[in-house]
Subunit: 308 residues, 4 copies
Amino acid sequence: MSFNVDSKGVYAIATTPFCDDGSIDYNSVDKLTDFYQESGCTGITILGIMGEAPKLEPEESKAIVKRVVSRAKVPVIVGVSSPGFAAMRSLARSSMDVGAAGVMIAPPPALRTDDQIVNYFSGAVEAVGEDVPWVLQDYPLTLTVVMSPGVVAKIISNHPSCLMLKHEDWPGLEKISRLRAMQRAGDLRPFSILCGNGGMFLDFEPERGADGAMTGYGFPDMLTELVSLSAAGKRDEAHDLFDAHLPLIRYEQQLGIGLAVRKHVLKRRGVIASDIQRKPSQPLTATAKAEVDYLLARVGRQDARARL
Amino acid sequence: MSFNVDSKGVYAIATTPFCDDGSIDYNSVDKLTDFYQESGCTGITILGIMGEAPKLEPEESKAIVKRVVSRAKVPVIVGVSSPGFAAMRSLARSSMDVGAAGVMIAPPPALRTDDQIVNYFSGAVEAVGEDVPWVLQDYPLTLTVVMSPGVVAKIISNHPSCLMLKHEDWPGLEKISRLRAMQRAGDLRPFSILCGNGGMFLDFEPERGADGAMTGYGFPDMLTELVSLSAAGKRDEAHDLFDAHLPLIRYEQQLGIGLAVRKHVLKRRGVIASDIQRKPSQPLTATAKAEVDYLLARVGRQDARARL
Amino acid sequence: MSFNVDSKGVYAIATTPFCDDGSIDYNSVDKLTDFYQESGCTGITILGIMGEAPKLEPEESKAIVKRVVSRAKVPVIVGVSSPGFAAMRSLARSSMDVGAAGVMIAPPPALRTDDQIVNYFSGAVEAVGEDVPWVLQDYPLTLTVVMSPGVVAKIISNHPSCLMLKHEDWPGLEKISRLRAMQRAGDLRPFSILCGNGGMFLDFEPERGADGAMTGYGFPDMLTELVSLSAAGKRDEAHDLFDAHLPLIRYEQQLGIGLAVRKHVLKRRGVIASDIQRKPSQPLTATAKAEVDYLLARVGRQDARARL
Amino acid sequence: MSFNVDSKGVYAIATTPFCDDGSIDYNSVDKLTDFYQESGCTGITILGIMGEAPKLEPEESKAIVKRVVSRAKVPVIVGVSSPGFAAMRSLARSSMDVGAAGVMIAPPPALRTDDQIVNYFSGAVEAVGEDVPWVLQDYPLTLTVVMSPGVVAKIISNHPSCLMLKHEDWPGLEKISRLRAMQRAGDLRPFSILCGNGGMFLDFEPERGADGAMTGYGFPDMLTELVSLSAAGKRDEAHDLFDAHLPLIRYEQQLGIGLAVRKHVLKRRGVIASDIQRKPSQPLTATAKAEVDYLLARVGRQDARARL
């Protein structure tokens, strides 16, 4: 499996596991890497927004990249978004040196006009190097930068090294349709689309033209099954599986505490040892934890993976 | 049923039905008013964000208020949010004159600090009059104004005429818990909490202390049943009903096209004659319409109301 | 003097004078209208952001339009920006009916992408009517909508009824140069550019290609002299005059209290009877008032108009 | 001279000089350090927003800190604002280790409520260590975080290690007055206030209670003279000096190109060898450069320092 414009399936957005004292839990990093692969993931994305990247020292970031890349048998993408190009280049370069498959770049919140956005990515590509394959992250809800389909198309056209769109606009179904229509019309070269937003629209996204998901929901094994069912044209089965998980997917889709939910589930599944986050963090209250456990029990009625 | 600090159940956020030529469809206004009441709604909120209020001429707004108020047997709340206090007062006063139960006020997007928000509502209350009962709308996702629980508490304490919170922060479950805890501690007087966000968390919100919902999902009859099940302590049944509708609730929760979904469902249910919106609007594509219909069919397997 | 693509000079952004009881002071409206014309203004813009438009009832807005239009011998532009097209059309139509020369439209704060902005103005032009001459207001600092030169050009190309750009981007000198360069290259038809931002860059803007100013600084007579000096190529004299006023221009350029400074100066000049604003407003503290008076005294050493 | 709650005068916001090949120009770093001291500056702030900090590799940042600290005889403050606490702590600790006097921390753009802001600084102080003296940066125009006087007061009260406010709210004169009034009322302990915003209101800020300036205007020698004149009660002379420079101060106060103006002036004064910036940057056009030179010539008529 390699990272290219035909990449399909599920790229897991990896959390960063910490020990209770706040240090990186490398044992859990390894278990998580294995877990994603055993779950059928076709790639792993590390140091993304949900990977607590800004809470890591530069040396820690590099150490995690090295650890995951050396263990994983699937492509590893490294989030390198940064307020400045110097830090972006530094992490991109060191990641590629140890064997990462590519990097992921999100636009900084201050960008507004189409030109500003297009120019920013020209600068970013110049900074990391035109030879570094990369994923364009389109996430307006958190980043406040809104890219029209035309802007996404222009960035992809400008930069042959952009192989994939991490699509998490909301609403976003029409955006997928429009980008794929541009390709059918011959106006846009091939590129992969994997969807984020915690999987909230993954029942319909593949039908619109997405190649799969890039998200960190605590059941990546369910995500890979869902994407396979969609690919096999088993629409009703795909929706049945999706609907069984939607109450939990929806609960996880809460800005701020979503990561706490995710880590709680991964801990309950025995993948990571602690659900602690580095500060600033929003831990789950006892009530919230009980709500998640109730939802897990309900999912478990239809999906054995959730019987914990 | 009256509008007060003990108000419970479901206040429907009413859409504004138009004829295909763009004029107001008063026949559908009447049918919609009846439908909400027959669905068990304990109140109706008109001219809210989802009611296309800014697309109405001042005279049209007043005419709709008069029409709904004169027909409804439940309390009618009128959204009067406005960039300026003059228009707010004008609509509030004319609405109360024809028999509205109260008004709803959202903060303008430019507010930032706690003091600015608290002062804004002091000005608003002075403008509409201290005798006008009102609902405080807390909707950061769209309005970009973030109110901490302390700010909400201060506004409620400052203004005896504020009877209800329309809660649609996201995430927001802890906010409900904290406000209710303040009351139990004796730090805050009683007020009603009805939840928005299209019902996305209405399975848990009543357990946290909410009194019900104020939202416009196309199945208000399901919302009232859900709130009743919660009130009766039938947790599992409530979640079963909620989960059956969640895929559609989720689909409707898409900024911009959500209203198109809602009107499409209400039209298919025979309540309104046309699903047209005034400009600017985002109509549903054929693909999106087919997706909604597919979801309706799936909901229909478990809920007869969705068999259309 | 008419309002067209060759319009030059100074369009005064008119304040709205109130009596101490908050009612509109029509006597001062008349005096202000005369004052602007006696100051050499080639046009008057009413109901703009600094005209407290959102604090007016719809009937009051219409009454002010009628009053100013019937008295003025120069073109009167009416600000009709509104959250919805219905209110915009209503005010635009009634203003044109009583003899306004055109309207001014600013984009609503939610717009982000180039397409969204361009489409918004298509909708606005459809709403007010393609026969209504209008001014495009570009004011990112307050409106948070950023228009690239390409977007401004596209809007102007799309709509023959757009005759003028009210330019108040900051920084904005290069934007003027680029738009004028597009015209010289034959890519853009003629249109007038008048500059806002309180006059903060009016020493250089005419040299970049602006036709004058559209702003409400308390010394419109100085603005018209400045624009004339620039037009006559008297660069040093223009800068001397500008520099004499810059400390006060700068002091007025404070969001929120700027209008209070402006009204205070107009009152001290004997043009309006009261400097009161409708709520919400930020009045000047005694210290601030003393600072303005000190600056007036200093300006007065070089410009007799400021000796009050 | 030490950095404490009584600090007065001018802390220069240092630019970071680069060679034409983009590497750090340490020779110019030294000359700049000397120049600031010879200009009478009582402190130097490095790696601030105008110091191109995000464009530096972590090692480069540390090297610059070491270089300036080892050469300067005045206190050196290091900007350590960062999206995450890990990088903030890392730079703060390494800076203090080599002899920095303290650090400066600005809030990240996502903060909205008073509580969020207050809590953020608690986390930041915990991260860098309660023993590290620091400057609170209040810069809403760029950071979009608005702190009321009450929030500033709370942060200062919570953290004895906060010794200074870098005040650059706009408008901001009343904020200074209110904070100083809180102190006179015994509600707030002493702290220093130095003002930013490029000096745009430095004629009035000391009279309101500010202790001086922290900004990077190309004439720090003029800033120190201005603050001295104010301190000596020579109001008219202070304003005369200020007014002579205001046209240039105003021109520099243009977001994006302001740094280019500043570096151009410092280069023309012979302090730095190149005015190049690292990307992303907005260089001056030939027209803009000519405008700056024209303003310099005009300032030079009244201030010999500007005769270049």
